[in-house]
Structure formats: structure tokens, C-alpha cells
């Protein structure tokens, strides 16, 4: 049936509903990745957001067991141009439409997504709602709605849990962890303990980690309690540390850098990222609304390791004193180019080095 997408600036788009017949509110952003829709909609970093896909046909690869980035998707809506009906599930005829229904997430298709993206490119992300009727009431409701800034609290684990392996012991601080990171750690046969971000220094150090990972997560890192930064300041001195996405932003904040919103949010895998030391260019999945302010970096503490060659944004930092570093992009390649996974190889080299010198 006909449904509508209303943006906070009053723009209305018409489309046909799919997924759940629900009314939702969220922040709307656009994504240019051509593959990996299932990973994207299940990635906790998109908690509370509605995603517009530039790729015009979505759903033709089905819903796969291997493509979950969290068991329960946290997005608030999905806007596409054409919806394909395909199932590859052996147990259930599960396709994208049914998947969204099951998780009570509305979708809208047959939308002029190119027009919508060109619009969002100018306005930046804004509040949006998917409703049946685009009347004044709906607009008023949208304007009155205050979106949560508790996304990390929504998605991160409340209790510690283990993902055992026989290799190095890695502690993951969870800000909204995606499966890709665990999968990568699994490739190294790491013995993983996942801890809530409210964990204490003591709890971490008691586990005697060989390495620590600050996970990806949704939202604005500045809305997290200061205790998180204190935790990072201590942990980075104790064991090799890798921050990813939100974890990278927190690592920067903990070392006195500041964040600035990007002139336009970037969600996709088409930007060249350069490793500054080698001048090598590679590509990775990126999803960011904020970037570390280049001018705010205390060069005595940190240096820039990677940069986005399109918008110049800082994509990686390394601590001058400690074996601690971070990347803004997603090196778990779920979805995304595999060349980015070299970051994990780096991390485990650092871990081996640390273990060798501290045993």
C-alpha cells in the first residue's frame, strides 16, 4: 500500500510499504554501498536510523545466515527503489520483506531514492518518519519527536560474555559490537571476553588481556559518560589497544582530540583511504557522521596514520608512547573490501610483540 516518508524540513516522498506496517521515527541517512544490505541493516551502528540505499535493487541476494551483524536489526526504517523477492533460506522462505516484518521495521520502496539522496546530500541527516498519511498531524508529530541519544545503551551488552578460543586473550569493550569484529578475532583463534562499556579498569586487568579492542557502536561518543574516557586512558598504557569506529572516536577523545561533524555524512565503501606511511591506497566500509578534528590532535601524543583522500578526514590514529591505535573505517570487512582486514593483522602483530616482551 501507499505510504509516505516525511522529512523534518517538510519534504515528503511517496512509496509503497513493505516490511512491517509500523510508524517509526529516526534519523535518515543514505548509503552508497552496492552490496551487503543485510549486514548494513543489522549493524548496530545504525541504531535508531533510517537508511536510504543508492543501490536501486535491494533484496536479490536474499537473507543469509552468514550475513548477520547482530541478531536483531536496530534500524528504524529502510528506503529503497526496487525490492526483490528472493529467498535462499533452507528452513523458511525468508526474504527481506519477511525479515523486516519479523523485526517490526517498516520499509518503503518505489521511492525516487536518487532525488532523496541528492536532497539529503544538501541538507545532511535529519529526522524522518514513515507514515500512512502525510498530513499536518504527522509533520507536527515528527517535529515534536525527540530522538534518543542513548543508542550505545540500546545496543551494547549489559553483561560480560565470552567467545572462547585457544589463541591470544582479547578483551572487547562493547559499545554496540558487530559480529564482524568477533568473526575476525575468530580467524585468529582469539580467546575473547566481551565486557560492557561500563566495566572498570580492575575488571579488565583482572582478565590479564593480551590485547584490548574498543568496538564500533552507534551515535555520538560525546553522549557517553566520562568514565569511558578514563577507562581508555588507563587501558592504553596496559596492553595493545585497537579502537574501531566509535572506539576510534573515543580513543581520540581520551587523548584530548575533539570531534567535528563531517560536512556530509559518509556511508559507503567507495572512498580511497591512504595509509600515510606507505602511501598505499585501499578501500573499506565506512560509516561516519563525525570525524576527529585534524587541528585538535596533540601531535606529542598522537599521529595520523590513515586519511580519506576524498574529504581529507582522519581515518586512523596511533599513540606515540603506547601500542595503541585506532581506525575510523571498518576493518572487519562485513560488508566491505577485504584489504581493510590488514588492520587486524597489525593488531595481532602488536599483540605478539607485547606478549613476547612481557612474559
Amino acid at each position: 500500500m501507499k505510504r509516505h516518508l516525511i522529512l523534518e524540513d517538510g519534504t515528503v516522498f511517496e512509496g509503497l510499504g513493505f516490511g512491517a506496517h509500523a510508524t517509526t521515527f529516526g534519523e535518515i541517512i543514505f548509503h552508497t554501498a552496492m552490496t551487503g544490505y543485510q549486514e548494513i541493516i543489522t549493524d548496530p551502528i545504525y541504531d535508531g536510523q533510517m537508511i536510504v540505499f543508492a543501490m536501486p535493487v535491494i533484496g536479490a541476494a536474499g537473507i543469509h545466515a552468514e550475513a548477520y551483524e547482530s541478531v536483531k536489526p536496530a534500524i528504524r526504517g529502510m528506503i529503497v527503489h526496487d525490492l526483490a523477492e528472493v529467498s535462499v533460506n533452507r528452513q523458511r522462505r525468508m526474504n527481506l520483506d519477511r525479515f523486516l516484518k519479523q523485526h517490526n521495521i517498516p520499509g518503503l520502496y518505489q521511492v525516487d531514492t536518487r532525488k532523496l539522496i541528492r536532497h539529503l546530500r544538501e541538507t545532511g541527516p535529519q529526522k524522518a518518519t514513515i507514515v500512512d498519511f502525510a498530513d499536518d498531524h504527522a509533520v507536527d508529530q515528527l517535529v515534536a519527536t525527540v530522538l534518543t541519544n542513548k543508542q550505545v545503551q540500546n545496543t551494547a551488552t549489559l553483561k560480560p560474555y565470552a567467545n572462547p578460543g585457544r589463541g591470544r586473550h582479547i578483551v572487547v569493550i562493547d559499545f554496540g559490537l558487530k559480529h564482524g569484529i568477533l568473526r575476525m578475532l575468530g580467524d585468529y583463534d582469539a580467546n575473547v571476553s566481551v565486557l560492557p562499556y561500563t566495566t572498570s579498569v580492575d575488571e579488565v586487568l583482572t582478565l590479564d588481556p593480551d590485547g584490548i579492542i574498543l568496538s564500533t557502536g552507534p551515535g555520538d561518543p560525546r553522549s557517553l559518560p566520562d568514565s569511558v574516557l578514563t577507562l581508555i586512558r588507563v587501558l592504553q598504557t596496559k596492553a595493545p589497544l585497537l579502537g574501531i569506529g566509535l572506539g576510534h572516536e573515543l580513543f581520540a577523545l581520551a587523548n584530548d582530540a575533539t570531534l567535528a561533524p563531517l560536512s556530509s555524512e559518509h556511508h559507503g565503501m567507495n572512498h580511497p583511504i591512504q595509509e600515510i606511511i606507505s602511501r598505499q591506497i585501499f578501500f573499506a566500509m565506512q560509516g561516519q557522521g563525525y570525524a576527529v578534528d585534524n587541528d585538535s590532535i596533540d601531535r606529542k601524543k598522537l599521529f595520523v596514520t590513515y586519511r580519506d583522500l576524498v574529504d581529507g578526514a582522519v581515518q586512523g590514529l596511533r599513540h606515540r608512547e603506547y601500542p595503541a591505535f585506532s581506525v575510523q573505517f571498518f576493518p572487519d570487512a562485513a560488508p566491505g573490501p577485504l584489504e581493510a582486514t590488514a588492520v587486524f593483522a597489525d593488531f595481532f602483530e602488536t599483540v605478539e610483540d607485547y606478549v613476547e616482551h612481557h612474559s
Binding site: 516522498f13 543514505f30 552508497t32 554501498a33 552496492m34 552490496t35 551487503g36 549486514e39 543508492a54 543501490m55 536501486p56 535493487v57 536479490a60 541476494a61 543469509h64 552468514e66 550475513a67 527503489h81 526496487d82 526483490a84 523477492e85 528472493v86 518505489q110 525516487d112 531514492t113 536518487r114 532525488k115 539522496i117 541528492r118 546530500r121 556530509s264 559518509h266 559507503g268 565503501m269 567507495n270 572512498h271 580511497p272 591512504q274 602511501r279 598505499q280 591506497i281 585501499f282 578501500f283 583522500l309 576524498v310 570487512a333 562485513a334 560488508p335 566491505g336 573490501p337 577485504l338 584489504e339
Partner: protein
């Protein structure tokens, strides 16, 4: 900054057109040669193809000679060539340059440097067995190759490898063909055939992987080892049907990110292994059940995939490729202002769907009484392709079908009910060129989608899509003149013409109904950022949505209707003709807009026209562009009679580029065809020369042609080059011929584009440009002067146009000989002392 030192650079052209070798190489060379001037080098080009555009480019010194090792060596010596660029001439140029290097002797001086690939790699790339084992050693997933020479060795291998097998030639003397052997009794024939195609009489046998999905990736690599993916496509048809004969979709739709990323990683590894500085096409087979991936072919040079990806993504593949070859790092490539500033190093993203549809020569041959084997298999049968652009698979498919100029009615579901169920199943398993139609028919008869998917090895997605199309068409057909039905039909790309047929009316009524209800096409820009950045887009395609992005170019726009796909017959030179027309219009300072749908020629190069519409070329499509651009004139090839009449009917200013509707007749073995060639400027007729055409060869008769009195009095209103044709029962080349009584022993026709291209090169007179000037009343006094003496110009001609060595028997298995100068897939040239007086 380039890190290469070069003074005199030689491009090796691709030679005559052939199966799998259309005008993409010529278009690539044509596009990149001017780019090299920025590097301060002298550019040379050797090619033999009479249809070549590049040979007429002012950006290079062109050498129009047959492509042989001797000629290449002679050119290198004469022009002190220090650098050779073989990668833009495709597989054939690569092979030729390898042979030249291998034939290099001590006295020849230093071997010129090769750009893009080292000589060592070049030699490996040309040896499929060596290449495969190199990849296997690097841990890449390849299928083991076994080389055999004698039939007994081949038979021995049968014990090791299970059927089905793939058999092909080692060191092939032509484009490599793969034959699939499914039954033992086919084995010996396949081995024989492959041996005959090998320069060393050796064959390569490997396990066939029929039924898997075929995926292509195009990637690039710079000298620093930076790599990037340009694009990917998936074939609807499984492995077992040649990729050129497959319906192919880009971007890939049915593959998961994980599979694609693995392929990308392998493609990057191959590029590193080859130490490539350029673009690479890697073909993969994917087993959908096990997710196993195999590399089945690598092409580290410009090919059809490269030019297709350039068109469908908007990424300037060729311009980037030449920079890579010249040793410019990816991040330092500077593109002209026609392109986004950072476009070269951003991976292209697509927010549209494209469908490539192969064009088969069966119709043209059937008309001429030649019947061929139509069954699709691992040997290419198609000669060209069209591309449909849309926002859904169905829309892109509908537009590709329309671009192919099939009768659209024959693709409607109401039309295919005659064959029995058994025949249908048989054809589903052994598909022919009407495959899509059969799939629709099978769905219509109620076969389950999973059954069909299993039977055909086609992904279920495509059946769901076709079922959707079928449902849509049936609904629309019943809801005569319903505005809602019209709106829905338009969204999925159904044309006014097709709807008119459904509703038993004409397209104008459909157009009016749409217009009255504000159902208007919206033109979307085709640019590689998928809307992320404002780019200087010049390429547009139509769809039916909310926002239109295309604004009129100017008030003095000339719209040029392209000639669509490469086809057998005179259309083979259609891309040449269209490109020359665009170039001349620009020289005359008109604003230009082109409509076309062929990725394999130069007509859609971004910088050749002010705007490109990637569209089908039917009247309703053309009128939608006309309504927006309001051109002062529309140039249409003369074979499009219906389109010309319809445009004239709608009061458009149509300028006709003379061209015959059907494949021109040609002489058989016992006769000769003479042509008195003349030019009409619309007022007067000027004699050019007389040509003699016997099977396989066309020569210029070495005498000054005069205009018969009856012809001098004739008025040929439409400017262009024409031929007065007559036949004689002779099989000797002549030095003189009398023109017969033209009132009844002859007939008049436009000179085929192919001959025009040949004649322009022989005479150094640009006949197509002259035609354009005449059409627009822009002839100069120099033109008039030239025309009064032009019949004295060809006496020096020592070059003949000859049929090139196209293996019709292999590709088409025709019932009788196919004369290459008549069907003109491709032609070559021959220099002959005998021809010269």
C-alpha cells in the same frame, strides 16, 4: 607525474572486427591518444582496419598497414619507436607484440619498452598453461589445465578428468574459443578443431564447470600497487554459454557481499602477480551451492568488459588506463574538467541497473538465405550488444530489448504459445537466441520457479523478475487506457509502442494520454558517485520517477541518432559513421546531443558530444528527448525508414545520413559487382571513382570516372555518397570498364558506411564530414573546388579492401560460405603492386 621516459610511442591497433572484437579497441585508442600529448610524446598508431577512427585522428601519425610482425618492426625502425602500448589493441595486439619481441634479432637494435605489462609477463599471459600454473602457485583458485599434442595423449587425459570437459587451443591463432565436451563421441572432433586453431597444434584440456554462475570483475592497478575495483557484472546465463552471448547485468544483483569481496581480493592478487599497470578483467565461476569460486579467464588489457564498465559506471576507464600505463599514480591522475576532480580514485558506485543483451546475426543471414546453427554454447555467436539503462532490472531489460530492435510484440507474452511442452523443455535446456522469451513462456505455463532454476541454472531472482513482468503485462493488457495501468507500465520501462499494441491504438495516443496525466519521463544523470557528489554529468537515461535532472543543452542543438548495436552487414561501420558526424558537428560549432545504446564503439565517449542519452532509439524514445532538448535538426541513419517518416510526420527537421535499409547484395563467385561512386551535395552530382567488387575483395578501378549524361541530369535531393551498381559475368580485375546504360541496367544505392570509411582513408577525403556539411548547407568553396576534381584523386590507390580471416565455420556453422566483404563483420586491407598502376 609520469615515471616513464618515452619519446616515440606506438599503439598497436586491434585490426579487423571479428567475433568478440568490435570497435571498443579503436574507441579506446581514439580516446587516449590525445591524452598522451599532455605527456609530451610523439604518438604513432599502426592498424589495418578500414573502419578505424583512430587512423583518422589528428592526435597521432597513423600507419595504415596490415598488422604483421614485419610491418611492426619496419614501423619501429622508421619512426625510432622507443615505447610500445599493446594493451589497448586487445588480445590480438598483445599476441602480435609478443611475436614481434620473440622474432627480434640482434641487428634490430634495442627492443622498445612495453608499457603496462613487462615483456616477461606478456609472454606468460599469452600462454594459458603457464599462466594458470603461475596463478595456482600463488594459491589462486584455478582449474587445472592439461596440455596435449597428440590425440592419444588427449585420450589418456580422459581417464584423469571427468566429463564434461573444456577443450581449447594453446597458443591460439585467433580469439580463443572454448568447446565443451559433454559426450565421449564429441571429444575427437573438439580436439581436432582446437588443434587447428593452435599455432603449435597443442590443446588445453580441463574440467568444464557448466552450470555455475559467471561473474566478471574489472579492476585496475597502478605502479605503486594501488588497486581499485571499477565494476562487476553477472551473467544471467550460466557457464556453458559464452559470456558474450549471455544476458548480463551490472551491477551484480544476486551475489552476497562476501562472495564478491572474495572475487575482488583474487582479482587484486592477479593484478599484483602480473605487476600490471592498467586495467584487468577477471572472469569467475561461482558455485552457488558450495560458494566455491574459480578464476576462469584473465584479460589484463582493454576488452569489451572495460568499455562496457566505462559506459555503465561513467568512470573514465580508458583515460585512467593510459595514465596507469604511463606510470602515473592513481591519486595523481589529473582528469579534464569533464570529470569530477577526485573521480579517478573513487570506486564507481551505481544507482541504476544495466542489462546487456547480445545481438545475433541470424536474421541478416537468414534474409540472405544462409542458415546457421542457432544453439548457444561456449563458442560466441553474437556479433554485438545493446545496453538498457533503468532503475529496475525489468526496466533495463525492456529498454535493452527495445534497443536491440527486435519486434517488441514478439517479446510480449501473448505471442509464444505454439511450441509443445516437450519442445519448450528441450529449448530451455539447449537455449537459442530467443531464450528470454522462452523463460517467460515457461513461467506462463505454470512451471515452478525452483524447477525452472534447476533446469536452466539461472538464478531464481531472474524468474521472479520475469514473472513480475508477465503479470504486469497481462494486467496492463486488460486495463485498456487505464491511467493507473499506464503509470505502472511506464515505471517498468514498457514503451508507448508496446502499450499501443496491447491497447490496439498507435503510440501517439499513448503519448498523449501519458502527457495529459503528467506521466512524463525523468532523466537521471549517470555518474559514478551514485548521488553522493554533484558531478559534471553529461550522460542521462530515462526513467519514470519524480525528479528530472536533464536541462536543455542549448538553442542550436543537433540531435544525432546513433546506429545502435554492432551488427553483421553494413552496420559494422555504424559507430564510425556516428562518431565522425559528431566530430564534424562540433567542428562546425553546433551543440550536440547523441542517443545511442552501444558500449562497444566511440559514439558515447563523454567528451565527444555535449550530452549523451543512453536510450533505445524507437520513435517514442526519440520524441521524449526531442521534447526536452528541442533540437534544430535530427540526424538519422537512412536505414531507419520508419523513424524518419514518424519524425517527419511530427514536423521535425530530419536530416538523413544515406544508408540502405537491408544488407547490400554482393557478387557471387562467378560475377563481379561494379560501382560508379558519386557525391551529391543536394544540387549537383560529382563522380568520384569506380570500384570493382568480387567475392572477398574490393578494388578501385584505376581510371578517371566520368558522369554518364543521364546521371548528370538526375537530382539527388538528399546529400551523400551514392553508388550506381551493375553486375558483369567476369572474374578478372579490370583497368577499364564502360558504365552501362544507367536507365535500366543499373540501380542506385547509398554507399555503405564501411566503404565510405575505406574510401575516406584511401583518398584522404572525409566523405562523411562532407556529407554533414552538405546536409547543413555548410559546404565551403574549398569543398566545391575539391569536388570538381575529386575523380582524379584515386589513381594512386594501391590498396584493396579484403575479407578478413573470420572463422564463420567455427562460430556459426553456416550451410554455405559467408563472404566477408559482403557481410562485413570485419574487413582488412591489402597493399599490392599489382593494384598500383
Amino acid at each position: 607525474m609520469s615515471n616513464i621516459t618515452a619519446n616515440n610511442v606506438l599503439f598497436i591497433g586491434a585490426g579487423a572486427n571479428d567475433f568478440g572484437r568490435e570497435a571498443e579497441y579503436d574507441a579506446a585508442i581514439y580516446q587516449v591518444m590525445p591524452e598522451l600529448r599532455g605527456h609530451g610524446v610523439n604518438v604513432y598508431l599502426i592498424d589495418e582496419n578500414p573502419y578505424s577512427l583512430s587512423l583518422e585522428s589528428l592526435a597521432a601519425t597513423a600507419i595504415w598497414k596490415p598488422l604483421t610482425v614485419e610491418n611492426i618492426k619496419a614501423v619501429i625502425k622508421q619512426y625510432q619507436i622507443d615505447t610500445v602500448l599493446p594493451l589497448f589493441g586487445g588480445e590480438r595486439a598483445l599476441r602480435l607484440w609478443s611475436q614481434t619481441v620473440q622474432a627480434w634479432s640482434h641487428g634490430d637494435g634495442p627492443v622498445p619498452q612495453t608499457l603496462g605489462l613487462t615483456i616477461d609477463m606478456l609472454l606468460r599471459v599469452n600462454n594459458v598453461a603457464v599462466l594458470t600454473s603461475m596463478m595456482a602457485d600463488a594459491g589462486l583458485p584455478v582449474i587445472t589445465n592439461h596440455v596435449a599434442k597428440a590425440q592419444e595423449d588427449a585420450n589418456e587425459l580422459l581417464r584423469e578428468i571427468k566429463l564434461p570437459l573444456m577443450v581449447r587451443a594453446l597458443h591460439p591463432n585467433q580469439a580463443n574459443t572454448r568447446q565443451i565436451v559433454e559426450r565421449l563421441d564429441e571429444f575427437e572432433t573438439a580436439v581436432k578443431s582446437a588443434k587447428s586453431q593452435s599455432m603449435t597444434q597443442e590443446i588445453v584440456i580441463s574440467r568444464a564447470i557448466n552450470g555455475m554462475k559467471e561473474i566478471s570483475l574489472e579492476v585496475l592497478r597502478d605502479f605503486r600497487g594501488n588497486k581499485m575495483q571499477i565494476g562487476a557484472s553477472e551473467d544471467m546465463d550460466p557457464i556453458g554459454i559464452h559470456t558474450a552471448d549471455s544476458l548480463s547485468v551490472s551491477p551484480t544483483l544476486t551475489l552476497s557481499d562476501q562472495i564478491l569481496e572474495k572475487m575482488r581480493f583474487y582479482a587484486f592478487q592477479v593484478a599484483d602477480l602480473l605487476e600490471l599497470r592498467g586495467v584487468l578483467h577477471v572472469q569467475f565461476a561461482v558455485d552457488d551451492l558450495t560458494n566455491a569460486i574459480y578464476i576462469i579467464k584473465i584479460s589484463p588489457y582493454i576488452d569489451q568488459m572495460a568499455s562496457r564498465m566505462a559506459l555503465v559506471t561513467g568512470y573514465p576507464v580508458m583515460l585512467v588506463a593510459i595514465n596507469l600505463a604511463m606510470g602515473v599514480a592513481l591519486e595523481e591522475i589529473v582528469l579534464s574538467h569533464d570529470f569530477g576532480k577526485k573521480m579517478a580514485m573513487m570506486e564507481p558506485m551505481m544507482d541504476h541497473v544495466t542489462v546487456k543483451l547480445p545481438i545475433f546475426p541470424f536474421g541478416e543471414l537468414e534474409q540472405a538465405g544462409v542458415s546457421v546453427n542457432r544453439q548457444l554454447n561456449s563458442i560466441q555467436k553474437s556479433v554485438g550488444s545493446t545496453i538498457g539503462f533503468g532503475r529496475t532490472f525489468i526496466e533495463a531489460l525492456e529498454k535493452a530489448i527495445r534497443s536491440a530492435h527486435f519486434n517488441n510484440a514478439s517479446f510480449s507474452p501473448t505471442n509464444m504459445s505454439h511450441s509443445s511442452d516437450d519442445a519448450l523443455i528441450q529449448q530451455l535446456i539447449h537455449p537459442e537466441d530467443n531464450r528470454v522469451l522462452l523463460l517467460v513462456e515457461a513461467i506462463k505455463r505454470g512451471y515452478e520457479i525452483d524447477e525452472l532454476a534447476e533446469l536452466t541454472n539461472i538464478d531464481e531472482f531472474f524468474f521472479y523478475q520475469l514473472r513480475h513482468l508477465l503479470k504486469l503485462e497481462l494486467e496492463v493488457e486488460q486495463q485498456v487506457e487505464s491511467v493507473e495501468a499506464l503509470r505502472r507500465a511506464k515505471k517498468y520501462g514498457l514503451s508507448d509502442g508496446l502499450l499501443a499494441r496491447f491497447w490496439r491504438t498507435n503510440f501517439k495516443n499513448i503519448a498523449t494520454l501519458a502527457h495529459e496525466n503528467h506521466i512524463e519521463p525523468t532523466f537521471k544523470a549517470l555518474e559514478p558517485s551514485a548521488g553522493e557528489f554533484p558531478e559534471n554529468a553529461r550522460q542521462y537515461y530515462s526513467t519514470y520517477e519524480e525528479e528530472n535532472e536533464s536541462l536543455p543543452v542549448s538553442e542550436d542543438t543537433v540531435l544525432v541518432i546513433g546506429s545502435g548495436a554492432f551488427r553483421m552487414g553494413d552496420a559494422a561501420a555504424g559507430g564510425y559513421a556516428t562518431t565522425i558526424v559528431l566530430s564534424e558537428l562540433r567542428r562546425l560549432q553546433y551543440h550536440t546531443v547523441i542517443m545511442n545504446n552501444n558500449a562497444s564503439d566511440a559514439t558515447l565517449l563523454q567528451n565527444l558530444a555535449d550530452k549523451q542519452y543512453l536510450e533505445p532509439l524507437e520513435i517514442s524514445d526519440v520524441m521524449k528527448v526531442v521534447a526536452l532538448e528541442k533540437p534544430i535538426a535530427i540526424i538519422v541513419p537512412g536505414n531507419r525508414r520508419k523513424l524518419i517518416d514518424a519524425l517527419a510526420d511530427l514536423k521535425q527537421n530530419v536530416l538523413i545520413l544515406p544508408k540502405e535499409k537491408h544488407v547490400p547484395n554482393g557478387p557471387d563467385d562467378t560475377e563481379t559487382e561494379f560501382a560508379l561512386n558519386v557525391f551529391s551535395d543536394g544540387h549537383n552530382i560529382y563522380p568520384i571513382n569506380i570500384t570493382q567488387h568480387m567475392t572477398g575483395e574490393l578494388r578501385i578501378v584505376p581510371e578517371i570516372a566520368q558522369l554518364p549524361i543521364q546521371l548528370a541530369q538526375t537530382h539527388l535531393e538528399n546529400p551523400g555518397v551514392y553508388q550506381v551498381i551493375w553486375y558483369q559475368d567476369t572474374s578478372e580485375w579490370v583497368k577499364h570498364v564502360d558504365v552501362p546504360d544507367i536507365s535500366h541496367d543499373t540501380w542506385l544505392r547509398p554507399m555503405p558506411f564501411g566503404q565510405m570509411a575505406f574510401m575516406s582513408k584511401v583518398m584522404q577525403v572525409q566523405w562523411l564530414r562532407m556529407t554533414v556539411r552538405a546536409l547543413l548547407a555548410r559546404m565551403t568553396s574549398q569543398d566545391s573546388e575539391l569536388l570538381t576534381n575529386v575523380n582524379k584523386l584515386t589513381l594512386q590507390a594501391d590498396v584493396a579492401m579484403i575479407a578478413s580471416d573470420i572463422n564463420y565455420a567455427l562460430h556459426l556453422q553456416p550451410t554455405q560460405m559467408i563472404d566477408g566483404t559482403r557481410f562485413e563483420i570485419g574487413v582488412g586491407i591489402k597493399y599490392d603492386e599489382q593494384i598500383k598502376i
